[in-house]
Point group: C2
Chain length 315, copies 2
């Protein structure tokens, strides 16, 4: 019996794969070797989810893995027209990041409400300056992205007494459609971007959207950097069109040291870490092993990405 | 008919007192004039709750206000043996600060869980450094102080999935007694001080208590500065006995510019602002007016402080 070949896009072996010993032949690839190894792989595990190597390597001719799993919620870094058009099944890490990202959003929203960044600045200056801060309960949030991450954010903010509105691709089932977005943005104290990056969402937070928001509003992006027109956000912050923002994701990652974003007043920059709580790699490894066992048994996979839409439909 | 005299300890008139126009004669006092004006006052409103003037002015002989209200939750700044032994009723601002302080604690706990202070430091250095952070849900908190503020903190942390234990002066009704404190501290990820300052709580967070905590634990004080032996906390942080702390209250306020506390690694210093959300002065003014109307009608006051214990009993 020939063992199936699992090709791992990463230098280091993921945790928890030991469980598959004797059931699979594991090979590794990096950006330079991926194209050459794709033809002989049955399964591709995109463990280095910061890499865009799949999108570059896939278009070549020839046999391709029947299944690609990415250890991330977003799939924008690997979907190319050729992969989307192929029979290959793509799955993602749906579920692993929901609660961590929701907590991260709550942390940033509360930090803004309580003026914590300013408190830390004043502490460095050894300055005692009492300020009034905001009560979070009773404020309004607009969460854009109605997948499990957006829903977890809504649950967490709800639990803190925030009135939330969830905006998705289409209205229904407690979700607002895009036609309500501007109206909801105009009354939100907190705007959270947690949508997948697709042709429909790319650049959706542009100058117009920031102009619609209240001058007291804060914007938090935990989705993908390209949801935001970064220059428009910078201008909105510099001109106080909105009160502040937190970006955990960027059009270019890692954010270059010479990016102007590091020093925009009112902007908190974090290094794409919102979902990554202690143990996350183990969880991602265990999740892949579970999926592998379904695949091995010839059973239907879960977390299957709709490659036309660019995310896992349903919730 | 002689109007009762309301003596306000503060230079500025509190908001909302206009409602009492024609029903009370309002006078103002400061630390230097308070002792001289106490004898002719029927009611004393301690609006400047940072002042210790009452404790200094009260001991003199002679007539004294029958009712003292303080626009604060704590009463340690005004209770002296002579006031405690007198017939004068003391009331406080119970209720106004509960939810704001609970949110403030949640903000600090989440900031620590998500390593936000470090993120802001790295941003200043223009350094992209991914770290794993902590998942808040499933962690354990020990909240010391079982009054309405402590209970609001418990409710808010509970809503975020934290397992909480509440410690009060005596066990019962879901509250742990002091005999459980060390055991609870030893397993807590987050320790929150929200107790009134009394002879029983002064200096309770000392070297022993920090030593009992886990090296990964964070300590947050929103009660009174003197609950903590500050030198012991500084040592615990410098020697990494605990992971970090946030102090909103201090033995000496405002914290002097040359205090070593400003620069202790892992310590967040804020200027006694945890309860002070936009509108708080209006709320405090309205609360006093409500109490005044009870007093004027000869009805029993609420929020009456047990002057022996140093807080309003019950919850």
């Amino acid at each position: 019996m020939t063992l199936p070949t699992l090709l791992v896009l990463d230098a280091d072996p993921p945790p928890r794969l030991g469980r598959l010993t004797g059931r699979v032949r594991v090979e590794h690839a990096d950006a330079s070797t991926l194209a050459g190894r794709l033809p002989s792989a049955d399964v591709l595990l995109v463990w280095d989810f910061t890499s865009h190597a799949v999108r570059e390597a896939w278009p070549g001719e020839g046999p391709r893995p029947r299944w690609v799993h990415t250890a991330s919620a977003g799939v924008d870094h690997l979907l190319c027209p050729e992969l989307a058009a192929s029979d290959t099944v793509v799955t993602n890490a749906r579920g692993v990041f929901d609660q961590p990202i929701a907590e991260y959003v709550a942390a940033l929203v509360l930090a803004f409400a309580k003026d914590l960044p300013r408190t830390l600045e004043l502490q460095r200056e050894r300055t005692w300056r009492h300020r009034e801060s905001r009560r979070l309960a009773g404020t309004r949030a607009c969460v854009v992205g109605s997948g499990p991450i957006g829903r977890a954010i809504v649950r967490t903010l709800d639990a803190l007494g925030v009135t939330t509105a969830l905006v998705g691709r289409a209205a229904g089932d407690g979700v607002h459609g895009p036609e309500d977005l501007d109206r909801l943005l105009a009354r939100a104290d907190w705007v959270v971007a947690a949508a997948p990056l697709t042709d429909g969402t790319r650049g959706m937070f542009d100058a117009h959207r920031f102009a619609v928001m209240q001058p007291s509003a804060y914007f938090v992006n935990v989705g993908r950097g390209q949801l935001v027109v970064e220059e428009a956000l910078v201008r909105a912050l510099r001109e106080r069109v909105i009160a502040g923002a937190a970006l955990d994701v960027f059009a270019s990652e890692p954010l270059p040291g010479d990016s102007p974003l590091w020093e925009v007043p009112g902007l908190v920059v974090s290094p794409h870490m919102s979902g990554d709580t202690v143990g996350w790699r183990d969880e991602l490894g265990a999740q892949f092993v579970e999926l592998f066992e379904l695949w091995e048994a010839g059973r239907p996979l879960v977390n299957v990405v709709d490659k036309q839409r660019g995310y896992v439909p349903g919730h």
